[in-house]
Symmetry: C2
Subunit: 312 residues, 2 copies
Amino acid sequence: MKSIKVFSPATVSNVACGFDIMGFAIDSPGDEIIVETNNENNLQIINKTNIELPLEPDKNVTTIALKSMLEKMNSLQGFTVTFTKKIPVGSGIGSSAASAIAGVFGANELLEKPFTRMQLIDFAIEGEFATSGSRHADNVAPAMLGGFTVIRSYEPMHIFSIPYPEQLFCVVVHPQIELTTKEMRKVLPLEVPLKVAIKQWGNVAGLIAGLTTNNLKLISSSLTDFIVEPIRSKFIPGFNNIKNVALFNRALGCSISGSGPSIFAICENEDIAKKVGYAMKEVCNSILLNADLYISKINKEGIKEIKYEYPF
Amino acid sequence: MKSIKVFSPATVSNVACGFDIMGFAIDSPGDEIIVETNNENNLQIINKTNIELPLEPDKNVTTIALKSMLEKMNSLQGFTVTFTKKIPVGSGIGSSAASAIAGVFGANELLEKPFTRMQLIDFAIEGEFATSGSRHADNVAPAMLGGFTVIRSYEPMHIFSIPYPEQLFCVVVHPQIELTTKEMRKVLPLEVPLKVAIKQWGNVAGLIAGLTTNNLKLISSSLTDFIVEPIRSKFIPGFNNIKNVALFNRALGCSISGSGPSIFAICENEDIAKKVGYAMKEVCNSILLNADLYISKINKEGIKEIKYEYPF
C-alpha cells in the first residue's frame, strides 16, 4: 500500500478584470488530502474534516476526477482518499477545484507520473464539470500550476502561466453567506456594450503587462472590473465599504473572488496585507457580518506533496 | 530660423484582438516633414509630396495639433511645416496620426523640449479629434513612442509601452480601395455577447503575455479577433485568401490594420516576412486588386529627427 499526503491551494479566479480567464493560487487556506492505493479495486472516501462532503465516489469531485484519470489509463487500481483539511465549500476560492486536483495529483505521484500537471488539469476539469455543470479551468489551473494562470481559450483548451512579482500578498475575506455559482452566473448579462468590453480588455492588457513586467502601479490601475463586479457585489453585504477600506489601506486592488462571496485584495507586501486584512474584517464586524480572514503569499508552486506522520 | 526634419512612422492599430487599445509602429512607410520656425507668427503648410493635403492650418491635422501645443505654452512663435513624404491617406496605417505627431514633435525639439513625448501625445490627439471626430490614441501613441503600446484607459488617458521580441517583422498590404474610418465604425455592433468578449480578452491576455515574455507561439495563437475582423473583412476583396496565404507562409498572425483597408501580418523574421509579403501581394494580383506592399521591422524608437540637406 502506497500513500501520499498533498496540500492543494485555494485559488482566486477572475482577478477583477479577467472574468473567466484568470486565476491565482494562495498559500492559505488549502485542502490537505491523503491518497492511498487500496487492494479493493475501487475508490473510497474518508472525511476527517468537520465540513460535510459527499462520500459516494460518483458525487465527490475528487473521486470523479480520479476515476476519469484511471479510465484514461485503463487502470483498475483502487484508491482511498482521506480529507484531513478542507477549504470551506461555497466560499468562492476554489474549494472544489482544490479537491478535484488533489486526487489525480496524488494518484499520479503514486503511479510514477504517467501524466504531466497540464494533463492532470483535464481530468480535474471533468470533476468540476460533473459537480458544477460547467467546464471551467480558472481555479483548477492555478491550483495545479501555482502563481497566476491564464485560460486563453477553452476550445481548444489553452492554459499558460505568467511571471509575476513574487513579493505579492493576498488577503481573502470570506463572509459567511451563501451564494451559489449557478445563481451568480444567472445574474450576468448575455450581452455587454462593446465600449465596456473595450474598457475591460484594456484592463486585462494592463494587468498582464503589469504582472509580467513587475509594474505594481500598472497592476493597481488595471484591477478594475466594469462588467461582473458591479452586478455581483450587490449580493455581498457591505461590499463597497469593505473594498474602500482595502484601497484606503493601500491594497493594489480589491474585488470579488470567483463568484463570491469571498472578497480578495492584492497587496504589495505582508505588512500592507495585514493592515488591509484587519481593516476589511473590521468593516465586516461593524455590520455584524461573520467572516473568515486569510492572509498569505501568492502560492508559487501549486499543489504539492507534504509530510505526514503515519498512522494519521 | 531654426529647422528640423523628422521621420514619423506608420502604425498598425487594433492588432487583431486588441481593438481600440493596441498599436505598434513600423519602420516603413512613414511621413517625412520639415518643421521650421518662421517670423510671421503664423502656421504655414508646404506640400512637396504628390499626395493631396489640406493647406489651411485649421484643416490640417499637423497644424491643428501644433496650434493646440502652442496655445498651451501661450506661444506666438510661427512655424512652417513642409511635407516631403507622406503615408497614403485613408490607408489604415495611421497616416493622420503620423502627421499629427510630426508638427508637435518637431516644434518641441526646436523649442528645447518643454514637453515630454507622453505630453505631446495629448496635442496630437486633439489633431486626430479635429479631423476624425473621435479621440483615439491607438495610432498616435505607438507613432510617438515606438514599439507596441497599450491604451489601458481613455478616461483618464493611460498609455504604456510593453517590451516585445525585437526580431519581429511586419508586412503591410495596402489595397487601393477606399474605406473611411467613420463608415467602418458604423458597421460594428453596439453590443457583443459576453461569451465572445471573454474569448477576445483571453486573446488580449495571451498577446500581451506573449509579447512581454518573448513567446512567439503564444503571440501567434493569440492574434485572433472574434469581434471586428469578421465584420470588416467583408469590405476588403480577397481578405480571406490574403490572410490564408500569410498564415500558410508562416506569418505569426494576420488581420486588418486599423479600420482597413490595409492588411498586416506579423512575422518572426525578415525572410519569412518577405515570403509572406510576396504571397499576399500575389493573391492581390490574381484578383486584379492594386495593392502596395511594405515589409519592415517593428519600429523601435518612434518619431525621430533625421538628417537632411539644406536647401531642401
